[in-house]
Symmetry: C2
Subunit: 338 residues, 2 copies
């Protein structure tokens, strides 16, 4: 099955410098994919030439005259820039010209534009941001990571449905296990929203494993962890900060003097292997779930290697029919609830 992906080429800190080479590379790896490069035609063509590449059957350009800036307020990006590369990429998904779109642009704007252009899936009230994180064995899908600062128990259940479908689609797990992020594993713990969500999840057809704690994001066994966007965002960014600090400490320790530098040289292959294993670029690509279309958000600072993983996420969601699967599961849940 051929998949077409629309790329917002202008988004992110590096724009075409990152998005265009990532697209060229991705097409070489995946023969059943077509990519539409969306953005300022001149900039895209210049970048293609820099790589000795040109448009062909599977690589086309769709002009868009405006660019959403990283600090544009969502409302302004939505109403004031109707010909932005972000908007045009979403339009291509809406018109079913593309099966998915990917952008490294401003999250708030991407969320507002996607929601306006694509609308929500039936039964889903709020979009959620989902991403995969490494864990002690395999990986875990965590959502919401910041789209929703206040959630009801019903929202958390919808997140569980969406996360479950994402993991099924991307990792091929039939009934992903779901953990509810709380501050203790006992049922009496947590605030009312979390307690109510646990009750709804237990009654649902989902494979609910109960409450999990922050530790379980990296050390736990569940395939999906559900939380409100405030908590999820803090957990994600706290992890980023801790990883940065530890990396800095390691550099300092190995750079302390000639002896420690020599130790570092000897241990380099091991350290590099470790570094590759925890390379956050391999986890780049957050899915905006709940929309009637596949939208993947890349980290704004992503390089071409990292951006390639975001394209891959979009590709896999499209290839495995994630949207249909969310729709079916939501219908089943609502039938149970009724």
């Amino acid at each position: 099955m051929a998949i077409t992906i629309a790329l917002d080429c202008m988004g992110g800190d590096h724009g075409v410098r990152v998005t265009v080479p990532a697209a060229i590379d991705f097409l070489e790896r995946e023969p059943d994919v077509s990519i539409i490069l969306v953005g300022l035609v001149d900039a895209i063509e210049t970048e293609l030439r820099r790589h000795g590449a040109h448009v062909h059957e599977r690589l086309s350009i769709k002009g868009a005259s405006q660019v959403v800036a990283m600090d544009d307020p969502p409302a302004q990006a939505l109403r004031g820039k109707r010909d932005s590369s972000m908007r045009v990429a979403a339009d291509l998904v809406k018109e079913q010209v593309a099966d998915a779109c990917v952008s490294a642009g401003n999250t708030g704007a991407l969320m507002a534009i996607s929601r306006f252009v694509l609308k929500m899936l039936p039964g889903i009230e709020r979009p959620a941001i989902a991403s995969f994180l490494p864990k002690i064995q395999g990986r875990v899908c965590v959502l919401d990571l910041g789209a929703n600062v206040d959630c009801t128990a019903e929202h958390l259940v919808q997140f569980a449905v969406m996360g479950s479908c994402l993991v099924s689609a991307v990792d091929g797990i039939e009934r992903p296990s779901i953990g509810l992020l709380n501050i203790g594993e006992e049922e009496i713990k947590g605030n009312d929203v979390v307690k109510d969500a646990a009750e709804l999840l237990r009654a649902s057809e989902l494979n609910f494993s109960g409450n999990v704690e922050g530790t379980d994001i990296y050390m736990g066994a569940t395939d999906v962890i559900v939380c409100d966007g405030f908590v999820g965002n803090v957990a994600l960014k706290t992890s980023e900060g801790l990883a940065q600090m530890l990396a800095q400490y390691l550099r300092e320790e190995f750079g302390r003097n000639l002896f420690t530098k020599l130790c570092g040289l000897v241990a380099l292959p091991v350290i590099n292997h470790f570094r590759n294993r925890v390379d956050h670029r391999r986890y780049n690509g957050a899915s905006l779930l709940g929309l009637r279309g596949i939208v993947v958000k890349s980290h704004g600072a992503a390089d071409a290697y990292a951006f390639g993983f975001a394209i891959r996420r979009a590709y896999e969601e499209a290839r495995h029919g994630m949207l249909t699967s969310i729709g079916e599961k939501m219908a089943a849940i609502q039938k149970t609830a009724a």
Copy 2:
């Protein structure tokens, strides 16, 4: 100024095996401290003998016939075990026989007992759990770490006052800078509680630095970070999980084969130095703030080395008159607000 500390010797996973040797060691280091060992007299005396130690002018035993189990519900610990080592230690603080108490027991029970026995400071509605975490330079005091799952803006301001006084007392910083944990630095971000808290903090006499993100716990510049207990607990436990996973990965990489094992041997001094630097035992000891008495909670799994840091926290809070300082700052805040 001589300080007396009451130790709940029975709490934690290891009880007297950890608490008694930690007390003996602490007394050797600090000549102006007295310690009261609270718990089952036989168990304490046996453990003292094991270390060739005995009671003396600065080391006494106070018998308590009951032990709060790690899984006792708080209400049961409070009402059903009135002669528990935890309760008697808190009573000694209430009666001003001790300046502070330390327990490695069940957090919920310690919170309930402390609140019942000691009562709250004027102007503080809820106790908070505060702990220090390492950051890229120095350390940061984060609260609340799990005592309060639902907070109002006013609670967050009270946490800011308490965290500020704790840092002043323990780290000698005159006007600690305070960050409000949010999901973006812009003022428009976050939920209503956080937005209202920011407004109150800006209007207060505290040294408020504005919103901070999860990343800033480890990479930021503020001395204190304030958040509700649900978010704080998730951030803390997520960090624990990530650190465990990274340590496990490192072990696996260095244990892969003979060559990597040799690399590990060569790099051992550097790795050990790194490990000491991030040793979580050095950050053991969470302060239960807002009470009319100093109460420090040690991690339940702490060993004697880690438990010693919890005793030190209690000692420093008492020595620097933290309680008076919280009282004065709350009075000043309420004057501004009125």
